[in-house]
């Protein structure tokens, strides 16, 4: 037989606290900034050590595909931000639609990425493949970093999409409301991070010159 203390604290850790959730999400985003940051440091060092090689290697990349992806992600940032506005105004259906649009943008991004990657793999440029192994030193570093960084980025797009999926589900079930929309807000923050990382990846890989 369990007795529970009749006393409870006003500042209980078991209360709903939207601000705490938001703070937690921001702290997590800081870790992501440092995570990708490590790779940006590697990029910066190797580009400064191998400037010609990085330039030569970058010609393999298609500026227009990169630009399209940039535009796609920027639009998706807008749609997810708008979906928060929608739920704040109590418009559940529009919120869901905008989140779905965000997912559509994510799919478009990944499809373009898929074409980019397969083209390079066909050209033997993936680490371990024949052409890659015979590249001049700096160029192989460029491609290693390209696959690693865009790969890690796509991984985060997938995670972000899954979180948005959860937010859609919660909104559809009515558990996300005009007053309680923490998950949607945090899904948005995560998505914007994915956008931010690409904003830096794009000029560094596609616009070397």
């Amino acid at each position: 037989m369990e007795h529970v203390s009749g006393f409870s604290l006003p500042n209980s850790g078991h209360n709903r606290d939207a601000e705490a959730s938001k703070m937690g999400m921001w702290l997590f985003l800081f870790t992501e900034i440092l995570l990708f940051g490590g790779l940006f440091i590697v990029y910066m060092v190797y580009r400064s050590l191998n400037p010609e090689a990085f330039l030569m290697a970058s010609f393999e990349l298609n500026v227009w595909m990169g630009t399209t992806n940039t535009v796609v992600l920027l639009v998706s940032s807008m749609t997810i931000a708008m979906s928060i506005t929608a739920i704040q105004k109590g418009n559940r259906k529009l919120s869901i639609q905008l989140m779905v649009l965000t997912l559509v943008a994510a799919v478009i991004f990944m499809v373009i990425k898929y074409f980019e990657w397969s083209a390079k793999i066909e050209h033997g440029l993936f680490p371990g493949q024949a052409v890659y192994d015979n590249l001049p030193p700096g160029e192989s570093l460029f491609f290693f970093l390209y696959f690693f960084m865009t790969g890690l980025h796509v991984f985060h797009i997938i995670i972000g999409s899954i979180v948005i999926g959860f937010a859609i589900h919660r909104t559809a079930k009515g558990r996300t409301t005009k007053e309680k929309y923490t998950l949607t807000e945090n899904a948005g923050l995560l998505w914007h991070l994915v956008d931010l990382i690409w904003i830096y990846l794009f000029p560094l890989f596609y616009l070397i010159h």
Binding site: F7, G24, V45, L49
Partner: protein, 540 residues
């Protein structure tokens, strides 16, 4: 009238293994960490004893060179990633941070449980490297490229284990930061928080921001091992020193993850056993932040002989001297706290005093290593080994032991045998210094580290050191045995404030605490957490 009769302690209530390993109660999670962390400590200490057996005499004693390399690697990986880094925050931070803040849990209890599970998974991954292939990594816990990329031992699993363990650290740090921001009891401003909370706050920021860097670095090593070519390979234009930069950008702040919580413990123990307010509360609080901040900019002092530019070496050396300043501020303030206090000599105080003595030696030897010219001679010698064991073990380790002895009556509502505790302390103190002081001498004499053999002129200090390890091991057995035996000692119930002079909020609640931490509203002293002049009257 208290609701004591109605308050089940957190140890009672639901029982059975699943109610523990799936518990959302921060106190139970703290004990889960305690038992797992101490188990790994014993494993790591055993490896250390084996190392000392090998080093008892020159030449081969009990193992081959290759095995020795694997033993010291495993010793480092276990001690650093499975023991020291999590220890004080995961055990005592989890148990006492919410209570000291006057709340009933952390901000994200489920994330807290997840952290422990991730920790266990990472630990299993790390230990699994013993079981297959060419055996555990033989690179040293630092996994320097290019050897870490080339060697056939289980480096990939070891670095992935460290990657997983990093997640546990990050999530705990995140949880504590939000808890401190959001859940302090009404009336407790930041400047009325106990110093242990300040220490955990600074530590949590390091955990959060530094760990991702090693995360990504270890992923790069993994990628290099899997794909055959990689980012630190000179033959394709890569630079092994870049690996060292990335590794130490995390691993230096990591030592402050180890040290800052220990400083917090000392700041809690001293006022209680001096029965007076801490000297310089704000200085100690802010010095924690200063150490955390400056500590991000000193990493190059691990790389003075690696081939860095001269300008960089000078900058890192200057920053290293700077970071010693806030630490010494703390030491002065602790000593001043004892001055004209009403000193009550109890086991926790003994550990705190040993901490101050040993951390001083460790810290000062660190400053010696920070001097460029001295480091040329001392880098990668036993001087370094002595230095970091003095700070990590003589410092943080002893602070952990002190915390165990300090909060034991609160956590379990029982008490250990104080005489045995004091005897164990003597063994530990003598054994520790006998084990590690000779290393400082050996380093100055020129004996390199991570060598399983050595010249005959190094024999005597090595023997002394090994004998010291046996005394230390005895002390550990006595100490742990005593603490475990305390569970069965029959005595009258432990009151709320066992030491009588505790003033932080945990000493206002029952021993052991109820599930929701408090059975009545905690009362803050008027002028701050160590306001001994206005200590609230707490009836039992």
């Amino acid at each position: 009238m208290t609701s004591k009769a109605m308050s089940l302690s957190y140890l009672q209530g639901k029982n059975g293994i699943f109610s523990w390993i799936f518990s959302l109660d921060h106190k139970r999670i703290a004990l889960l960490y305690l038992y797992s962390i101490l188990t790994f400590f014993i494993a790591g200490a055993t490896l250390g004893v084996l190392m000392r057996l090998e080093l008892l005499n020159p030449g081969r004693d009990i193992m081959e060179a290759q095995t020795y390399n694997q033993v010291f690697t495993m010793h480092g990986v276990i001690m650093i990633f499975l023991f020291i880094i999590p220890s004080i925050p995961a055990i005592f931070g989890n148990f006492f941070l919410p209570i000291m803040l006057g709340t009933d849990d952390v901000s994200f209890p489920r994330l807290n449980l997840l952290s422990w599970w991730i920790y266990i998974i990472g630990a299993i991954m790390a230990l699994s490297t013993l079981l297959w292939g060419d055996g555990p990594a033989d690179t040293g816990w630092t996994f320097y490229a290019p050897y870490s990329v080339k060697t056939g031992t289980n480096v990939t699993m070891a670095v992935l284990a460290a990657f997983v363990l990093g997640f546990a650290t990050i999530l705990t740090g995140l949880n504590f930061i939000v808890t401190i921001h959001r859940l302090r009891t009404p009336g407790m401003t930041f400047l009325k928080m106990p110093l242990f909370a300040w220490a955990l706050y600074a530590t949590s920021w390091i955990q959060l921001l530094a760990t991702p860097i090693i995360g990504i670095t270890l992923l790069m090593i993994t990628a290099e091992r899997v794909f055959g070519v990689g980012l630190f390979d000179p033959s394709i234009g890569g630079d092994p020193i870049l690996y060292q930069h990335l590794f130490w950008i995390y691993s230096h702040p990591a030592v402050y993850i180890m040290a800052l919580p220990a400083f917090g413990i000392i700041s809690e123990i001293l006022p209680t056993f001096a029965n007076r307010t801490i000297f310089g509360y704000k200085a100690i609080a802010f010095s924690s932040l200063a150490i955390a901040f400056v500590g991000y900019f000193v990493w190059g002092h691990h790389m003075f002989t690696a081939g860095m530019s001269g300008t960089a070496r000078v900058i890192f050396s200057v920053m290293t001297f700077l970071v010693a300043i806030p630490t010494s501020v703390k030491v002065f303030n602790w000593v001043a706290t004892l001055y004209k206090g009403s000193i009550n000599v109890q086991p926790p105080l003994l550990y705190a005093l040993a901490f101050i003595f040993q951390f001083m030696i460790g810290g000062l030897t660190g400053v010696v290593l920070g001097a460029l010219a001295a480091d040329i001679h001392l880098h990668d010698t036993h001087f370094v080994v002595g230095h970091f064991h003095y700070v990590m073990f003589g410092g943080t380790g002893f602070a952990l032991f002190g915390a165990l002895h300090y909060w034991y009556p609160k956590m379990w509502g029982r008490m250990y045998n104080k005489l045995v505790a004091n005897i164990a302390f003597v063994f530990l103190f003598v054994g520790f210094n006998m084990l590690y002081f000779p290393m400082l001498v050996l380093g100055l004499m020129g004996m390199p580290r991570r060598y399983y053999d050595y010249l005959p002129e190094f024999h005597v200090p090595n023997m002394i050191s090994t004998y010291g390890s046996w005394i230390l091991a005895t002390g550990l057995l006595l100490m742990f045995g005593n603490l475990i035996a305390g569970a069965w000692r029959k005595r009258e119930p432990i009151g709320r404030n066992y030491w009588k002079t505790g003033i932080t909020l945990e000493w206002q609640t029952l021993s052991p605490p109820p599930v929701s931490n408090f059975d009545r509203m905690p009362v803050l002293p008027k002028n701050g957490p160590y306001d001994y002049d206005n200590k609230p009257e707490i009836e039992e």
